[in-house]
């Protein structure tokens, strides 16, 4: 007979990465600031558009802040009869492609809009035409904005930020929130685009341990049954998250995982030992799941790189070595390898997504420079396992 299932959780969905809490501890000032920046949208919609940058480290609350703001703004607009849409796009999920990002925005209004037959520029005009027809306004949040800059460069961002210049005397319908980790990437943009974006920046500071305790305690009361998570456990999680750069997302993930370990061991309380077990398992999983978004050949190329590092035990690989490893993988999966130029593009995507890092090295004793590839913080064994499993589904 099965034993009666007991759980420390009351509602574990409150620990999901996509859950947006009603209250954002230690981000109320920033939320008020964001609301102030966009106050015109409720008072005089169409009279102006806004471009805001939210910058902060991983887990500093950038995404949740913009999403909470979006929910509040659209609810308030609805009350006033303003047709406002908040569209949140993770640029990295769309590999930084302006076309795919804009397509996502268009599909909010026309879900069956065709995916082919026009350029990103045309799509931008189409989006504006739709907004004009429906007398609608959009706040478009470009999360992980770095990916868009890496992939499309300054031209695409210029078009997005200055599009009203081609629409003289027409309502301004598209506002932007650009979410990024570090403002340094903006240096890649031309001076005019940079100055447009840098005029309204909200910096999110790293959470302190005390702030992390407050955030985690809020989530404990939403997600766990009473008295199942002792203060010591919350404090330990906050310590670990604090050492990870004040990463609240990491802390919440750790809290959920620790709860799972407690359930698996049939405990009625989430002990510090559950947290320690959870911490040792969490590091590898965070990046791996993102491999599913890669295209077939990006996966094959990354698998080649992972195998190279697994077998050679070296820290760096040259592009030629990675290319060789990729050719072997293609043969194994019976797929025709792509050209050298195409591999360059894949390398740029993999680098933008964060799976690999590249650096340029001066060749000693010969002319020219070469690109070196390395894996930052990802185990080659784990990556190989994950990619092989994904490719078996694809090929």
């Amino acid at each position: 007979m099965m034993s009666r299932y007991k759980s420390v959780f009351k509602d574990e969905t409150k620990l999901d990465i996509n859950y947006v809490p009603y209250k954002l501890p230690h981000r109320d000032r920033e939320l008020r600031l964001l609301t102030e920046f966009f106050s015109f949208i409720l008072q005089a919609p169409g009279k102006m558009a806004q471009r805001i940058v939210i910058a902060g480290d991983v887990g500093s609350g950038k995404t949740v802040l913009s999403q909470r703001f979006g929910m509040n703004a659209t609810r308030e607009a609805e009350k006033r009869g303003i047709n406002l849409h908040y569209v949140h796009v993770n640029c990295r999920e769309y590999r930084g492609s302006l076309f795919l990002i804009l397509y996502h925005a268009v599909s909010v209004f026309h879900p069956s809009f065709p995916k082919r037959g026009y350029s990103a520029e045309e799509l931008l005009q189409i989006l504006l035409q739709i907004l004009d027809e429906q007398d609608a306004y959009v706040i478009l949040t470009l999360d992980e904005f770095e990916s868009l800059i890496e992939r499309e460069g300054t031209e695409a961002v210029y078009k997005l930020t200055r599009l009203q210049e081609t629409r003289v005397n027409k309502p301004q319908r598209l506002s932007l929130i650009c979410v990024m980790r570090n403002l340094k990437i903006l240096e890649k943009l031309d001076a005019s685009t940079r100055s447009t974006l840098q005029s309204n920046v909200i910096h999110l500071k790293k959470y302190s341990k005390r702030q992390l305790v407050d955030i985690l305690s809020d989530r404990v009361s939403l997600a766990f049954k009473p008295l199942t998570v002792p203060e010591d456990t919350v404090s330990l999680i906050a310590d670990i998250a604090s050492s990870e750069g004040g990463n609240a997302r990491f802390g919440i993930e750790l809290l959920w995982r620790a709860g799972k370990y407690a359930d698996a061991d049939d405990l009625s309380v989430v002990t510090p030992e559950c947290v320690r077990k959870a911490a040792s398992s969490i590091y590898a999983v965070m990046r791996k799941s993102e491999a599913a978004y890669l295209s077939l050949h990006e996966k094959l190329f990354l698998l080649g790189i992972a195998r190279f590092f697994k077998e050679s035990e070296r820290a760096y690989a040259s592009l030629a070595e990675a290319e060789q490893a990729y050719a072997v993988v293609c043969e194994e999966f019976n797929v025709k390898p792509r050209s050298h130029t195409q591999l360059w593009k894949y390398l740029r995507t993999l680098s933008a997504v964060g799976f690999v890092k590249t650096e340029v090295s001066e060749n000693i004793g010969s002319r020219g420079r070469s690109t070196l590839i390395y894996l930052p913080r990802i185990s080659a064994h784990e990556l190989e396992k994950e990619l092989t499993a994904l490719l078996e589904k694809d090929v």
């Binding site: 026309h110 069956s112 809009f113 065709p114 037959g117 045309e122 189409i126 739709i130």
Partner: protein, 103 residues
Amino acid sequence: MKLEDVLSSRLRIRIIKVLIQVGELNVSEIARRINANYKSTSMHLKILEDEGVLQHKTYGRIRLYRLNQSSPRARAVQNLVEIWEHANKGERQDYSGMSGVNF
């Protein structure tokens, strides 16, 4: 055009059914779904639009077709299709218990 002429084409009926199901689509996608070529699909779409059953919006080079909800004809055709399809589904359910009946 007379009613019997408008509704005498299988492709036109398929177009109407697809658009009732999906809401709106571009010409190539309609052609793909009704298994017809682009030219012939465009011709049937034009007939249905001229008769007030469909309407389209143009976005750059893209034309999106949908039922013309402001037209009584479109609403009548939609009713007909929905009642017909619903009745067919009901019949299938009625017969599903009988041996030797395949749908």
